[in-house]
Amino acid sequence: MKKVKAEQKKLISFTVNGDDVKVEISADTRLIDVLRNKLNLTGTKEGCGIGECGACTVLMDGKPVNSCLVPAFQVEGSVIETVEGLDKSGELHPLQEAFVEHTAIQCGYCTPGMLMSALALLRENPKPTREEIARAISGNLCRCTGYHQIIAAIEDASAKIRLSE
């Protein structure tokens, strides 16, 4: 039987926003470090660094995770989506458009994470109630908007996405 070895550094492969990437990581590298520092995807923000604010939310295999709490060695072979993957050839995603229209952005720091949580919700539940929206973004803190504009934006985006399909 082959014996698995302990490692301190490793070249890992995974996909980010549809592109295959290979990155060298150490045992203490986090997913957010890989995204921001190795891949230059600085749309994902670090807030608290301990999983309490959701600013660093990305999708890992389609589900929302705090990228500050994911050890990079666990990312091998997975599918990561970040805010940079939302717009297609310069066209904003309906969620992004709705955030702009509803002034759901003030300082903007929570926005990338908020958008990713909203994206995960709409894929699973294309017609969410306001309550379901509030619950889906309950892991994302916003200290500016008071959430109402964000919830309205997600509601609006869900309607527009349904119309366009």
């Binding site: 014996k3 698995v4 070895k5 302990a6 490692e7 301190q8 150490s26 045992a27 203490d28 986090r30 660094g49 301990i50 999983g51 309490e52 604010c53 959701g54 939310t57 890992m60 589900k63 929302p64 995770v65 705090n66 500050c68 709490l69 994911v70 050890p71 060695f73 666990q74 091998e76 949580s117 995960a120 619950r135 889906a136 309950s138 892991g139 994302n140 803190l141």
Partner: protein, 293 residues
């Protein structure tokens, strides 16, 4: 500190490595607690000299499941809070466990955090522990020496301390499904609705017999005791009673008394004692199918 990782693909490989590196290994699953603890160890400079090996068990298949057979519910240690909260079996058979797992952290934390991690981390405020305690759950631990089963209540030594050996892995938690006539409730009070550690919580499991009397009762508060426990004096106050305000009230007082007896009088006691009583009362009525609000 040298930090390394290993990603075993079978339980056997993991047990092998753990038995060779007993003193300096740390099992990692959803990592939601481990990553925070490692960060604080680094920043306080308390990092050890020795290399630390993180044994990542997420590559081992077959540790994430909810099974219900012959009246026993078995949950694999790697099952996430998200999957438990959404499990049809859990929602049907022990809905208060689904509620507890649904109240953990945030959607992001529930995607990654596992019930095994919640148990082994042994936080006094762990959300899954009050319902599991009320269910008299048992744990199966495995190592190269073989498996051993322990009662959940005997697993804890104190806050964040358990009897698990460094070379052991928690494989599953299991419990007998309550009678279909029983009712249960989990209530949690945090500083806000989401992303809040429980300040107080309580799990209640009750059964009422044909004559309308409470025949079985299990009451397990959370976040106010050093480790999970049932409050037998509170349970006794209910057993044999046809549900009534007075019995529910005295059961709730027992929970408050026990909290002070075990955890001592603290700055927060003036607030926590009446609140844990009120929470217990509400949970008992909810378990009885009466919504107080």
């Amino acid at each position: 500190m040298t930090l390394g990782f290993i990603r075993p693909e079978t339980v056997y490989e993991a047990m092998e490595f753990l038995s060779e590196h007993k003193d300096n290994s740390r099992i990692v699953a959803g990592a939601t607690d481990v990553m925070v603890q490692m960060r604080s160890a680094k920043s306080t400079g308390h990092a050890e000299e020795k290399p630390l090996w993180m044994v990542d068990i997420t590559n081992i298949p077959g540790l994430s499941y909810v099974n219900f057979e012959n009246g026993i519910v078995r949950i694999g240690a790697m099952t996430t809070h998200r999957d438990i909260a959404r499990s049809a079996v859990i929602r049907d058979v022990v809905p208060f466990l689904a509620d507890a797992c649904r109240s953990v952290g945030s959607p992001q934390i529930r995607t990654r955090g596992t019930i095994g991690g919640n148990i082994v981390n042994a936080s006094p405020a762990a959300d899954s522990l009050p319902p599991l305690t009320a269910l008299s759950a048992r744990l199966r631990l495995i190592s190269r020496k073989g498996p051993r089963d322990v009662a959940l209540e005997e697993f804890f030594k104190g806050p964040y301390r358990t009897i698990i050996e460094p070379d052991e892995i928690l494989e599953e938690v299991y419990f007998e499904a309550p009678e279909s006539s029983s009712g249960c409730a989990f209530l949690k009070l945090g500083r806000r609705e989401s992303l809040a550690i429980a300040r107080l919580s309580v799990a209640v499991l009750l059964d009422v017999d044909e004559s309308g009397k409470i025949s079985k009762a299990a009451i397990a508060p959370g976040a106010c005791l050093p480790m999970p426990a049932r409050i037998t004096s509170a349970e006794e106050a209910l057993i044999g009673e046809i549900p009534n305000e007075e019995a529910v009230h005295s059961a709730s007082l027992e929970v408050g008394e026990e909290m002070v007896r075990v955890s001592g009088v603290r700055w927060s006691t003036e607030y926590k004692k009446p609140v844990v009583c009120a929470l217990t009362k509400r949970a008992i009525w909810k378990a009885l199918g009466v919504d107080e609000d």
